[in-house]
């Protein structure tokens, strides 16, 4: 038996162990790695979005430091096929040779003794292009005259999907039908640390060692092995401290393959550190969706059906391991969310465009889906003449229906959605906002209008084999493993294949181990980010780690605990079952032995061990998966009050409440950090972030002066209210909660802005909600009003 609920275990808000090195500037990131003789790489990248390459000419002097596709003997391009029927396959070249398909695509790698010199060299490489017309607008990608990105395809579509569940039959009794168009912008995920690679050939181990800023070292190893034609045993991936990921680092990079090849070719360490210009011009790779969505409701506010046509701009290539289609596959399956409905129809197109390949960004498709669905719900409420919270209350799955299976067969493990809604409505005080709106509309609001908006949604986390197999991606997670080892001095080492890059897993996994072994977190080392030291894992993504790696750590620690108790029972002359592990000792009755002593005995004084001791010793690797692999469903309700400046079009966030249910919280303070950080990114999606592309496929921002990220001053003081409905599927009742914060803000803020604009009959439909878009919506409504008056 382990000690229960304490100041260090599950539920304790202890400070993060890793923060000491981060806050003191002692983290070790890829760019901090120095090696003798190391060379820097600068890539020559395509300045055009779509062109045939006529020629690439290396400079006369320094040309031996320039490498092009023709030099990369034996290296294959990256292929990530979806298993779904009808998928059109693409190959992402490591260096472009015949064609370029987006701005920023690497064409040549230039190597020199410093990055500045490598950039000097890159300027001397000349590339001649025959430019082609580009696909830069997703809604035009399927036009008959659209240029083809991949010439062996018949249209610019990676995959088209269609689902129809009882749609036609369900809409007969509809009294309210509204159809809306919604659109989200293409964004750049912006971890503070960009991507980066240091590759070196280790002669002694006969291994390529690739240090890379990644969320999935083992997957990079597998992908690299395929691209380089090199055995896994010849490759070691090390992810040192990683300064944020959010999905941006959940990919096998062409730059990783190229740097690896160069390190082997040159037999010198090489590095590539992504700079902000590369990041912005070649890395705008997420979120761009277009929805035509129709909602059908009965007179009593009951939601009958939803019909949707969604386009996802998937960019130029299918990337490894998530493919070009994960996003759209998710759209179709998660759109109905926690709502009950009788009918559902959805078609999706993952279209190819001359833009960087799409990657799943925190929240993945959910942020766009939540925006479309929750804006639609407000539209229906408005048509029905009821409050937005009322229509939600009428249609959300009820707690007594849990576990609830929705129309797309999503299995909601637990939760009380109406209660989360109720708490959010109460906390933001909608009644008071309605009173103030009446006063303002009476004339005292000046040029400002306030509005209130809600969004409620779920976050599926830690979903496993059946779900990902169904989404057709090349990487399907199964059991997650962890190793637990008691050291000779009574410390604990935990080894996991996932990566902690800001989530605080070095702390929370230690808390879980404490729960089983009673070893204080400060005496626990969580080892991650090195394929040589950790069990295979698909890595950190999909809000899976606290459930999957957490479950694996608990399983390994529990088994280790059994072995410790067995030895301790022998020494204390007590039944192993009666031994309690707490405070770094094994205790039975009045007797106790420090774990330090047990460690010493196993490793150095085995003569004292029981004769039937487990020969596996004090090191255990265990695999874990949840009771069912359909995922934990955490959920949240966001409520926001905004002030819209009608003259400037500016939107200010006056109050922001998040009611969040992440199941049992392992460390509530860490969860708050996840929710707040995500919400800041969601505010970016809602109000600021947008990479525009012109008609030729040129990205319109190259610095952060043009691509606007929210900063600390733009994020309001967010009030988080917790609910803790345990998941029946996970080890401690915990649920994945890494993405939720980023999902809700665009929908809540969008609804709030439209609520503020309601008296003007103006409506926004596109993200981000910039002053230009607000003013355009107001002007359009005024124009309509004038026409109406004239008629």
């Amino acid at each position: 038996m382990a000690a229960k609920k304490s100041e260090f275990g599950v539920g304790a808000s202890i400070e993060r162990l890793e923060d000491d090195r981060y806050l003191r500037g002692r983290g070790r990131f890829v760019a901090d790695i120095q090696m003798p003789g190391m060379l820097d790489i600068a890539f020559v990248r395509s300045p055009v979005a779509h062109a045939r390459i006529r020629s690439i000419t290396k400079p006369e002097t320094g040309g031996d430091g320039v490498f092009v596709a023709a030099d990369l003997a034996g290296v294959s391009g990256i292929r990530a096929d979806s298993g779904l029927r009808g998928f059109r396959s693409s190959i992402q070249p490591i260096l472009a040779h015949d064609k370029v398909r987006h701005v920023g695509e690497p064409i040549a790698a230039c190597v020199a003794t410093s990055r500045a010199r490598a950039e000097d060299l890159a300027e001397l490489v000349t590339v001649e292009f025959d430019e082609l017309p580009a696909v830069s607008e997703m809604t035009r990608a399927r036009d008959a005259d659209a240029p083809l990105l991949h010439e062996d395809w018949d249209e610019n579509v990676f995959l088209e999907t269609a689902v129809d569940t009882n749609f036609a039959a369900s809409i007969a009794s509809a009294t309210v039908v509204i159809k809306r168009t919604y659109r989200t912008a293409r964004q750049c995920m912006a971890p503070m640390e960009g991507r980066g690679v240091v590759a070196v050939w280790d002669n002694q181990a006969e291994q390529l060692v690739l240090h890379t800023s990644t969320q999935m070292p083992h997957i990079v190893r597998t992908g690299l092995s395929a691209s380089l034609g090199l055995d896994h045993s010849r490759i070691r991936i090390v992810a040192p401290d990683v300064g944020g990921g959010f999905g941006y680092k959940g990919i096998l990079l062409t730059e990783e393959v190229c740097a690896a090849w160069l390190a082997m070719k040159l037999r010198r360490p090489v590095r590539w550190i992504e700079d902000r210009r590369e990041h912005l011009t070649g890395g705008a790779n997420c979120r761009e969706h277009h929805y035509e969505i129709t909602g059908y409701a009965a007179a009593d506010g009951r939601l009958l059906a939803v019909d949707c046509e969604a386009i996802v701009d998937s960019g130029a290539y299918s990337i490894y391991p998530f493919s070009a289609c994960l996003e759209a596959a998710q759209v179709a399956s998660i759109l109905p969310g926690p709502y009950r409905m009788d009918g559902y129809r959805c078609r999706t197109w993952s279209v190819a465009s001359n833009k960087p390949p799409i990657l799943p960004y925190r929240g993945v498709a959910r942020t766009g889906v939540c925006f479309a669905m929750e804006m639609l719900m407000d539209g229906l409420a408005h048509e029905l003449g009821i409050e937005p919270w009322e229509i939600r209350q009428r249609n959300l799955a009820e707690p007594h229906q849990m576990p609830f299976t929705n129309i797309t067969n999503k299995y909601f493990d637990s939760g009380d959605y109406p209660e989360a809604l109720r708490r959010a409505v109460e906390a933001i005080d909608i009644a008071a906002i309605r009173r103030r709106q009446r006063v303002d509309e009476g004339g005292s609001g000046g040029r400002h209008r306030i509005g209130v908006g809600l969004s409620i949604f779920c976050e599926q986390g830690a979903h496993g084999t059946s779900v990902y197999h169904g989404w057709g991606i090349p990487m399907v997670p199964g059991f997650e493993q962890a190793t637990a080892r008691l050291t000779p001095d009574g410390g604990l080492e935990i080894r996991v294949g996932i990566q902690s890059h800001g989530q605080g897993l070095e702390t929370t996994l230690a808390q879980i181990a404490y729960e089983e072994l009673g070893i204080k977190p400060e005496a626990v080392r969580v080892v991650h980010g090195d394929t040589a030291l950790t069990p295979y894992s698909t890595g950190t993504w999909g809000s899976r780690c606290i459930v999957m790696a957490g479950g694996a750590v608990a399983a390994a620690a529990a088994k280790l605990g059994d072995r410790i108790r067995h030895i301790a029972g022998h020494l204390l002359q007590a039944a192993p079952d009666s031994v309690i592990l707490a405070d770094g000792v094994a205790r039975a009755g009045a007797g106790e032995i420090p774990l330090r002593e047990i460690g010493r005995l196993w490793y150095l004084a085995p003569q004292h061990l029981p004769p039937d001791v487990d020969p596996g010793g004090l090191e255990v690797t265990q695999g874990y998966r949840t009771v069912r692999d359909t995922g934990t469903f955490s959920y949240a309700c966001h409520a926001v009050t905004v002030s819209v400046d009608l003259a400037l079009g500016d939107v200010k966030l006056l109050d922001y409440v998040i009611v969040e249910d992440g199941g049992v919280l392992i460390n509530p303070m860490v969860v708050d950090g996840q929710v707040l950080g995500g919400a800041a990114q969601g505010i970016g999606t809602a109000l600021y972030e947008e990479m525009r592309f012109d008609g030729t496929g040129q990205p319109m921002a190259a610095t952060l002066a043009d691509y606007h990220l929210p900063g600390a001053p733009e994020v309001p003081a967010i009030r988080i209210l917790h609910m803790e409905t345990p998941s029946p599927l996970s080890r401690f009742g915990q649920k994945g909660i890494g993405e939720s914060g980023a999902i809700g803000p665009p929908a809540a803020i969008g609804n709030a802005v439209n609520d503020a604009l309601r008296s003007l009959d103006a409506r926004i439909w596109e993200l981000p909600i910039t002053p230009e878009r607000v003013l355009a919506a107001v002007a359009e409504a005024e124009g309509k009003a004038r026409i109406g008056e004239a008629a």
Binding site: S114, A116, E119, D120, D275, A647
Partner: protein, 282 residues
């Protein structure tokens, strides 16, 4: 994003900087805080062969009291003004303006002179010092010196009248009395973003100065004609009408933004009949 190789020399005083500028390299350039030039270098949009650092030049780093005016060294930083480490000719306005330029990290290095020479039409000093009637003090080769009102020194977007070999040594600001009032308002959606619209208002009855300046218009700031400014303040001329006259070529939609900026700046300056609506303004 690494600059092309360049040489760097630290100037010990303004004459040294001027001498270096003419002698070391025809493509030599002054660098002050590097907050505008730095990104240009890194993006390789600027490729000077030689940089002359003026932030250690003593005579560019201080403030000289000339009696009725203060002469600010061009390399005085935003942070020094914000912190009150140098005297404030306006009794507080400069401090308030400086404190709202970008982030502290930018203010620690960025200089008043650098901002004026960079001449971004939306920059805070460009707009507010125009309202204060600042004078640019310039040194050229062979000990040449000249002075020019800021309103003509800034000749266009990102353009000044500095001639090759000249540097800005200082900015002269008349001391304002206690009854002078002022207001500055800018529309930015986030801290550190250049303004989409801005306006600065100075009402100094003692000196007989009334100025309404409209900034962030993709050209140097416009000073409303004195008669119009007074008529606006007295409520005899609608702001929108004054702006239409002053900026006949701006699109009507942007005039709405500029009108808000002027109204807010007037409100902050305490002009009767213009209640400030924007709570966040300073």
């Amino acid at each position: 994003m690494k600059p092309v190789a360049f040489d760097l020399t630290t100037a010990t005083a303004a004459p040294h900087a001027v001498a270096l500028l003419s002698n070391v390299d025809i493509e030599a350039k002054i660098i002050a805080g590097g907050q505008s030039l730095g990104p240009m270098l890194n993006l390789r949009l600027a490729r000077p062969g030689h940089l002359i650092d003026v932030t250690r030049a003593k005579d560019l780093r201080g403030v000289v009291d000339e009696g009725s005016a203060l002469l600010y060294g061009a390399a005085v930083t935003h942070a020094e003004i914000e912190d009150g480490a140098v005297p404030d000719a306006t009794g507080g306005w400069l401090q308030a303006i400086a404190s709202r330029i970008a982030y502290r990290a930018v203010r620690n290095r960025g200089t008043m002179g650098g901002s004026l020479v960079h001449a971004d039409p939306a920059a805070d000093w460009v707009v507010t010092l125009t309202a204060l009637g600042a004078v640019a003090v310039i040194a050229g080769p062979g000990g040449a010196a000249r002075e020019e009102p800021l309103s003509s020194f800034i000749a266009g977007p990102f353009t000044t009248t500095l001639k090759p070999g000249e540097i800005l040594t200082g900015i002269r600001l008349a001391k304002r009395t206690a009854d002078a009032r002022w207001g500055y308002w800018k529309f930015t959606r986030k801290v550190g973003e250049f303004a989409k619209a801005s306006a600065a208002v100075l009402i100094d009855p003692g000196a007989g100065d009334t100025r309404v300046v409209v900034g962030a218009i993709e050209q140097p700031p416009i000073i409303l004609p004195a008669g119009d400014a007074e008529a606006v303040i007295a409520g005899r001329l609608p702001i929108e009408e004054a702006l239409r006259r002053a900026l006949p070529h701006r699109p009507p939609a942007s005039l709405v933004l500029h009108a808000v900026a002027v109204r807010e700046a007037l409100g902050i300056a305490g002009a009767a009949g213009f209640p400030a609506q924007d709570q966040g303004a300073a």
